[in-house]
Symmetry: C2
Subunit: 244 residues, 2 copies
């Protein structure tokens, strides 16, 4: 399939309570992009969190004794550590300045997705959306397209970060090759290709990180609409993981 990924420019500064679907519709139009059937909009977590008011002013946070002690050992802001722990179901690894957590959604990422970049207000951080699949469904409904909400995660074994799907609507998480054969009749080794993550990764490149471009339009991916879709299927349960 031919894939085309275009950055969506002219997205206004997003504040809590704004209608993100309307904002993105306007930005698409100002970018000269018109949504077509089977288009997918990739949207960064950051603007979804802002629209949903998932912003914490660190000046309002009182760190617990544990957060303060952890912060001292990790050379981090104790208020940030407090927020990270509140967003975490489990601390997966801590070493040096790195705090890798499992969020209440089940995502495993640095600082439980709590992030201070691309936030307007001083001393404020964003949290991940409370339910990113629900956020994606809401945008998909408003814009009548597939939606991927992305965040930028580190990986095990490999350096560098990649954008990853943390919320999806309408599109399937995987392309499923189970039971398919190659042109020579062999059963395929690749059974489930994590399509939503691959699209998120490419959309992240198209958006960049410094250009104020928090969305990208993905065209050409072939998919069948699935109202039951979600990112849960992309999360490997801890008991099945070889590395936990």
């Amino acid at each position: 399939m031919n894939l085309h990924i275009a950055p969506v420019q002219h997205v206004p500064e997003i504040h809590p309570g704004m209608n993100l679907g309307e904002c993105l519709r306007g930005a698409l139009s100002r970018s000269g992009l018109e949504l077509e059937r089977h288009d997918i909009l990739a949207v960064t977590q950051k603007i979804v969190s802002k629209a949903e008011g998932r912003i914490v002013d660190l000046r309002d946070v009182t760190p617990s004794a544990y957060s303060a002690s952890l912060a001292r050992r990790m050379s981090k802001d104790p208020r940030l550590v407090e927020v990270v722990l509140r967003e975490s179901r489990r601390i997966v690894r801590m070493r040096g300045e790195v705090l890798i957590c499992e969020t209440h959604h089940g995502f495993i990422c640095a600082n439980a997705g709590v992030d201070e970049s691309n936030v307007e207000a001083a001393e404020s951080v964003t949290l991940l959306p409370e339910n990113p699949d629900r956020s994606a469904r809401s945008l998909a409904h408003a814009l009548a397209c597939g939606v991927i909400i992305t965040d930028t995660f580190g990986r095990v074994w490999r350096e560098g970060l990649v954008d990853t799907a943390i919320g999806i609507a309408r599109i399937p998480p995987f392309i499923d090759f189970r039971g398919k054969t190659d042109p020579y009749g062999h059963r395929l080794r690749v059974t489930l290709l994590a399509a939503a993550d691959a699209l998120a990764a490419a959309a992240g490149l198209a958006m960049g990180k410094t250009s104020g471009t928090p969305a990208a339009l993905i065209r050409g991916f072939e998919w069948e609409e699935n109202e039951e879709t979600g990112t849960a299927a992309l999360l490997r349960p801890a008991e099945k993981d070889l590395f936990l």
Copy 2:
């Protein structure tokens, strides 16, 4: 940046000793694609390995006592296990039928990249190219473009496989945001975006797994040529990894 990823069709069946650059040039032409400045060709490991003769007929393999015992416990072909161990620097995890190895190149993947799918001859498997960066450089020289050699790897924590860069030429492995600031003047949390892996992932979707399309043309990625590039920078040394 606008990204466009097009599958390269009409690639002939590749046999050892064939000039892969010439084959891909012909396939591009038959696909109606003309290489432009800053285009990148993503090519699956499979056809590179075939062209380089990295094929092993399992009927020629005598498993060691250790391979035979391991194979029995894992319900695998002992000859396959023997080949996997020969390709491995280290076994990273073994559980059930899953054998995750670090290859001599430093890649961590199932079965050390040894694979029986998409191989014409019965009872034959392909090995990863001996030096995929060198293979990429050779193709980049022949075709005057950037090159990514891809393979499909599993991930920790997340279900599903994604295509990953195992060899690169000319293009940088990362987009480097170190020292850059967001529109509000904050230092960016994201420092190195693993661009080669993100492009490989998207190219893998464009190629599919069953369609006999072992290459894709990537257009629109902005990069500066780097003759010193390679995938080594994408591999996190074990002593720096939090999960080994």
